[in-house]
């Protein structure tokens, strides 16, 4: 964990200016990066290792979760060179099952909590949910912030809730979902990122996946800037997780180019960067096999997660 002794908490009433058009132009520029050959294969495998394979539906039965866990461990059994994904991400009541299946595999178990996706539960119930998920075996908690409080300007409320959930996490890592699609402006995204980071987040995450727009490149870039500024000030590295809307390998590689050119090589690891996604994994796999064999692939040959 970061050294908080000398940390000066910024005044969140102050706004870090972000120019919408400028940041969107910058983000679009990463889309012009052309990733070829070896560098492409490397990045595809890296991206696969960064996937938080996710299912967050009311219809998530134990059977569905079992399937997902197996996909996480053996994305493409035909090729032993293919790495595992970083984690699976489920609701708290499926954590125990997932933890059992994944035990010893190296795949992390992430659970959403804190009245996901709205965050509109009582503080007590939200804390209980965090503790429950950790007790069931989750080693990563994906929380949601109270957007109503943030948009009302009650920044201390949001800061305190993040700090409280962080404490409730114990040894588990905390990912803080900002739900950027509800924050409207990039300056809000930046402010919410700063609040989450200073309150103790290990990761900041764009979205629940339940609100459109979910992750976008410019939103992620603004969050990467917040992470970078925090690192430049404190030397501590916070992770980033764009979630929702990243469905194809090409987009994932552009995200990686953005991470590389904004935060540098140190962040090109599942410890500090994740993709919250479900269908992305198979597209990455298809592209990996295409790179290896030269043949364009069909989804029929890749198992559904």
């Amino acid at each position: 964990m970061q050294n908080t002794k000398n940390m000066r908490i910024p005044d969140f009433k102050l706004t870090v200016p972000v120019d919408q058009i400028g940041v969107e132009e910058r983000a679009a520029r990463f889309r012009t990066r052309s990733i070829k050959k070896e560098s492409k294969l490397f990045a595809l495998k890296l991206a696969l290792q960064m996937v938080d394979l996710t299912t967050l539906e009311g219809m998530d039965s134990p059977g569905k979760v079992r399937q997902l866990c197996n996909k996480a461990m053996y994305p493409y059994e035909a090729d032993p060179d293919i790495p595992k994904v970083a984690a699976i991400c489920v609701y708290p009541n499926r954590v125990r099952l997932a933890a059992e299946i994944l035990k010893g595999s190296g795949v992390h178990v992430a659970s959403v909590a804190t009245s996901f996706p709205s965050g509109m539960g009582t503080l007590e119930s939200r804390i209980e949910e965090v503790k429950y998920a950790v007790d069931e075996g989750a080693d990563e908690i994906d929380m949601v912030i109270s957007r109503w409080a943030f948009l009302k300007g009650e920044y201390n409320y949001v800061f305190d809730e993040v700090a409280t959930f962080k404490e409730a996490c114990g040894p588990a890592h905390l990912k803080v979902i900002l739900e950027t699609g509800e924050l409207e402006t990039y300056e809000n995204v930046r402010k919410a990122s700063d609040i989450a980071i200073y309150a103790g987040a290990d990761f900041i995450k764009t979205s629940t996946g339940k609100i459109s727009p979910a992750a976008t490149m410019p939103v992620t870039l603004v969050m990467l800037y917040a992470i970078r500024d925090y690192y430049l000030k404190t030397g501590s590295k916070i992770g980033m997780k764009p979630a929702g809307g990243i469905r194809d390998a090409k987009t994932a590689l552009h995200y990686l180019a953005m991470v590389k050119e904004t935060l540098g090589a140190d962040w090109l690891t599942p410890d500090l960067f994740r993709f919250g996604a479900s269908s992305l994994a198979n597209d990455l796999l298809m592209q990996i096999i295409k790179q290896k064999t030269g043949q364009y692939q069909s989804p029929d040959y890749f198992s559904i997660g």
Partner: protein
């Protein structure tokens, strides 16, 4: 960030782990003739002298082609063809038909955009990302824009009856060869003038290809004539009695001689000359976007841009953070093969230009300036200059006063808006200026204070056919683009 925080600042690693593999556009797609002739009266014609000069790829010094060396008699022929076309066809044609020809050029260019982009990068050394995403799209847009003006001129200027001038002589530079050609040809044709145009001798290929396209578009013979050759031909154009109007883009030094010749011969003239723009960053600016704007302002096209933001003026309170972030950003700039899609910084356009840039840097070192350059590897062949910062300069330094026309940014700090404006204006130039602040009223105040023709606030180096471009003071006169861009090609009388 405070000074104390700066001391704990960590450095990020941008050069390790994951390097992009080469992703070049294939030059094979573009067929380059061994030799190009002059485009006069709708035909490619051999020069009277029978002599040709070489044009090379500045990224690898390889010969691209040989291009006709025009002399005075060739120019006479081109002017005569333009005059004949003006009097016989172009000025008599219904304006809407004229417009349709220009639309045709735009469409044909759209179809062949990638070909033109590759060729432009080969001949100039600019990255394909720029020729593909900036130069050629704006070329096309420019023809589209002015095509539409052809039959609407009577609405452009209230109370007057605008008429074409006759034959326009146009002289264009090597930094944006096709773009500058479009900026000149499109409004000239739309207003009913015919054209004799001369590209820079180091970058003639895209304009010659445009000549082929214009021929293929079926434009009447002689409406556009292209003469290639040395600088003297430009001078001859400026002095030619058969030419009614001069449009010149290039250095202020040459611009002066063009103005002198035009005044003496009574020609109407417009000049787009040099610049030494200040890019002013206030402490309330969106810093990350400002860094991007600074990079785009000075490293776009290797700094071969007359409106480049070559002087960074940064308010003291944000200077350390900004410069640190600028340096980090510079480490991620990829220098190399202009045809590689990932290249951010291409080749310097010519040996001569490289020597000139390096001369400024050598002088700077000798006068004790701190020069910071990125760690990128330079290719062995070709002409290259890494992105460069010159820190702690003062207004008196030559590198702050003169146009370097390369990827070299000087950095000065200031304390108050008034000081920033006076530093910005302390130059004979007045082409452009940049302002970065989150405060709207400050943009208007400072923007008004800067004596320059283009102000980019919270952005930089943006161009659009609808937007007039041109300088104050020694940066030139007249505007290109927009409704104002028509005026230099029209006789206005009540």
């Amino acid at each position: 960030m405070s000074e104390k925080e700066l001391t704990t600042r960590q450095n990020l690693r941008f050069d390790e782990l994951w390097a992009y593999d080469p992703a070049p556009e294939s030059p094979d797609y573009v067929k380059i003739e061994e030799q190009y002739n002059l485009f006069i009266d709708g035909k490619f014609q051999e020069p009277a002298s029978g002599r040709y000069f070489e044009t090379i790829n500045p990224a690898n010094e390889k010969l691209l082609s040989r291009v006709a060396r025009a002399d005075k008699s060739d120019l006479d022929k081109a002017v005569a063809a333009a005059r004949k076309a003006y009097e016989g066809v172009w000025s008599k044609m219904p304006a809407k038909e004229r417009g349709k020809y220009i639309y045709r050029i735009a469409r044909l260019l759209q179809e062949r955009a990638r070909e033109f982009a590759i060729l432009e990068s080969m001949d100039t050394g600019k990255p394909i990302r720029e020729s593909r995403d900036v130069d050629i799209p704006i070329v096309i847009a420019h023809f589209f824009y002015y095509a539409g003006w052809a039959d609407k001129l009577k609405y452009a200027f209230p109370g007057v009856d605008p008429r074409p001038l006759g034959v326009a002589g146009q002289i264009i530079p090597w930094n944006f060869p096709l773009l500058m050609a479009a900026w000149k040809i499109a409004p000239a044709l739309a207003t009913g003038n015919t054209v004799v145009i001369k590209p820079a001798s180091s970058t003639p290929l895209t304009l010659l290809r445009l000549g082929e396209l214009i021929r293929d578009a079926g434009l009447p013979d002689g409406v556009v004539n292209i003469v290639t050759g040395p600088g003297e031909i430009g001078n001859a154009i400026a002095n030619h009695p058969g030419i009614d109007k001069i449009a010149f883009t290039g250095s202020t030094e040459i611009g002066r001689t063009i103005q002198e010749a035009s005044l003496r011969t009574g020609k109407k003239y417009t000049l787009e000359l040099g610049g030494k723009a200040a890019n002013i960053v206030f402490d309330d600016a969106p810093v990350e976007e400002a860094v991007e704007g600074i990079v785009n302002g000075i490293f776009f096209n290797q700094g071969h841009v007359c409106c480049a933001g070559s002087r960074l003026l940064v308010q003291e309170g944000v200077a350390d953070e900004l410069v640190h972030k600028l340096k980090m950003r510079m480490e991620t700039l990829i220098l190399g093969d202009p045809l590689d899609k990932n290249t951010d910084i291409g080749a310097i356009n010519s040996k001569g230009q490289l020597d000139s840039i390096l001369g400024y840097l050598t002088d700077g070192v000798e006068s004790g300036l701190q020069i910071y350059q990125t760690k990128c590897q330079l290719p062995e062949k070709g002409f290259w200059c890494p992105p460069t910062l010159v820190e702690n300069v003062s207004q008196a330094h030559r590198i702050v006063q003169e146009e370097v026309f390369g990827p070299v940014l000087t950095i000065q700090t200031f304390r108050t808006p008034e000081e920033a404006v006076s530093l910005a204006n302390n130059t004979p130039y007045g082409l452009s200026g940049g302002i970065w602040t989150d405060k709207g009223s400050k943009i208007f105040k400072v923007g008004k204070g800067i004596r320059a023709g283009v102000i980019w606030a919270n952005t930089f180096n943006k161009f659009d056919p609808t937007s007039p471009f041109g300088g104050y003071k020694e940066s030139g006169m007249g505007r290109e683009g927009g409704i104002h861009g028509l005026l230099p090609y029209l006789e206005i009388s009540q």
